[in-house]
């Protein structure tokens, strides 16, 4: 049996000395699975994702990422685990001082990849997301949808084993949102485990994936529903190199 990519056991979380925002969270993400994380605004979706992409400590419980107990894993090991996780932030979090190409290349540079390989793959990814003409542009000159695509390209350039997206369709119209979901499905077919937080119920209804539902900090798991007919067909991304710590 293959080990879970993510496993939470009785996890609680609080910010500082505030009240607990997540209570007794238990779930597992199997390798290659695709899950939606749903729930109303303020339910704790972003907080749960922060725990998944190792930005925050749980206040209690156990978190296993790629089989590593985060509480006992050596601190110097965590950057290597983080490099196996691609994150698409709700507010994009692109660095305005860097060009689009430099933003996309950032994870590979941090991982210490060869500069020529980095440029090659960053260019390919930007062409794939339709931003080949904006490589030298600064993020501040892009539209919300374009920034979203840059953020996605940055998240996947490292060929992550796990892709976490926080409201990736929150800033785009329905048509673009569906196309983005196709794109995530293509990545999933290539073996990437996907976890997408959204409060867009109609979008969730169109795709056949199980749902982790959060309400008032408590999690329930819902089985997938039949997919919307024709919800397939986005082009596959160009292959990016597996780098230090990246999934093969």
């Amino acid at each position: 049996m293959r080990e879970s990519v993510v496993r939470f056991e009785n996890v609680g979380m609080r910010y500082g000395v505030g009240a607990e925002v997540l209570h007794d969270i238990r779930f597992e993400l199997a390798p290659g699975s695709f899950h939606f994380l749903t729930g109303p605004s303020g339910a704790g979706k972003s907080s749960l994702l922060r725990l998944v992409y190792l930005a925050h400590r749980p206040s209690r419980g156990l978190i296993h990422i790629f089989g590593h107990d985060i509480a006992t894993a050596p601190r110097e090991r965590l950057p290597l685990l983080r490099r196996r996780i691609g994150v698409v932030f709700q507010e994009f979090r692109l660095l305005d001082s860097l060009s689009v190409l430099e933003n996309v290349a950032l994870p590979l540079r941090i991982a210490g990849a060869d500069p020529e390989e980095i440029e090659k793959h960053a260019r390919e990814l930007l062409e794939w997301v339709g931003l080949g003409a904006q490589m030298r542009a600064k993020p501040s000159t892009l539209s919300g949808g374009q920034k979203q695509r840059v953020a996605i390209a940055r998240a996947v350039i490292n060929r992550p084993s796990l892709l976490v997206a926080d409201e990736p369709t929150g800033n785009v119209d329905d048509e673009i949102a569906v196309r983005l979901l196709y794109l995530f499905e293509e990545l999933n077919r290539l073996g990437t485990t996907i976890l997408i937080a959204t409060h867009n119920d109609s979008l969730v209804a169109r795709f056949d994936h199980p749902e982790l539902h959060l309400l008032d900090g408590e999690l329930t798991v819902r089985a997938g529903r039949p997919a919307h007919p024709g919800a397939r067909g986005a082009p596959a991304p160009a292959a990016a190199p597996a780098t230090d710590g990246a999934a093969s």
Binding site: H56, R83, R93, L95, L98, E102, R109, G112, P115, E116
Partner: protein
């Protein structure tokens, strides 16, 4: 254009891309550091110069002695001849003393001129039994045993005294030592202010770049790499500011030294910083820059340690 040539330079393996230079607040940091280094270098130079002067006076190496040969003879030709003979004996003894560069007997009218502020310029002064004054110049760096010399001279010419100006140099040395201690406190306070300035500037930069740091952290940058980036920036800012401050201090110090050099000879001993002291001054901006880098690194590391 190759990526390696663009972000390659900015995103080097040992230099993650932290756009600290674009933080408007950090433009002022080099000037703050320049001011700190300027004050520190001047205070340190003053401290070292004061220490040198005090040491010179303390060792009695101001370079001159004043010997008085009392005139106990009658005011007639025989008496003057006897006094001249006594002076010749004293001069001969002084010239035979090791470390004495030159000996000059002041003429009677020169002695009278010395007393003029107190006794006036009347002709009667010449009739007073004034001692003969012998001005003795010592060789540079010579240490004279004043007590021994006095004893030697008094044995040959009874009543002869030697004045190495110790009475008033002692008071000056005391004052100088107090100023020296004050300057040392100033140097210490300036050093503290430098550390405070850097800590404040670094924390401000951290506040501005907190999201960037967290992003790099989440993407998988190692703590050391992020901290090194901040430290490198702080080092650059510190060196730039330190150089400006040191140049300012050298210009100001040279001006002060020039003013001192114009004082009448003998009023102040000449002070030239030794190569070691010059090296210590050159170390001020380097030290401040190193403090900046280490503080930046420690501050960033502490911040990162609070994250998972």
């Amino acid at each position: 254009m190759r990526l390696g040539g663009t972000i390659g330079a900015r995103l080097g393996r040992k230099r993650p891309p932290l756009p600290l230079a674009e933080d408007p607040g950090r433009k002022f940091v080099p000037w703050l550091i320049a001011l700190v280094v300027f004050l520190a270098a001047l205070a340190l130079a003053g401290l070292m110069a004061l220490a040198d002067i005090a040491a010179t006076w303390d060792r009695g190496l101001i370079g001159t002695l004043t010997v008085q040969v009392p005139d106990n003879s009658r005011a007639d030709a025989a008496g003057r001849a006897a006094q001249a003979k006594r002076v010749d004996v004293a001069v001969a003894a002084l010239k035979a003393t090791q470390g004495v560069a030159s000996v000059r007997v002041l003429e009677a009218k020169e002695t009278a001129a010395l007393l003029e502020p107190w006794l006036g310029g009347g002709a009667y002064v010449a009739s007073l039994p004034l001692p003969s004054i012998v001005d003795v110049q010592l060789e540079v760096g010579t240490h004279i045993n004043v007590a021994g010399l006095t004893e030697l001279l008094a044995a040959q010419v009874p009543g002869t005294t030697v004045d190495d100006h110790r009475r008033w140099t002692d008071r000056l040395v005391t004052i100088l030592r107090a100023i020296e201690a004050l300057a040392a406190v100033v140097v210490a306070l300036v050093a503290l202010a430098a550390v405070g300035t850097i800590v404040f500037a670094t924390r401000s930069a951290l506040a501005v770049h907190a999201e960037t740091i967290e992003l790099l952290h989440i993407i998988g940058a190692e703590d050391e790499a992020i901290a090194a980036s901040f430290a490198q920036q702080a080092l650059g800012l510190g060196l730039r500011g330190g150089l400006i401050g040191l140049i300012g201090a050298v210009v100001a110090g040279s001006g002060i030294a020039f003013a001192f050099a114009r004082l009448p000879a003998g009023l102040m001993p000449s002070v030239a910083l030794t190569p070691l002291e010059v090296a210590a001054l050159a170390l001020v901006p380097l030290t401040v820059a190193a403090i900046a880098a280490l503080t930046a690194r420690a501050t960033v590391m502490a911040s990162l340690k609070r994250m998972l």
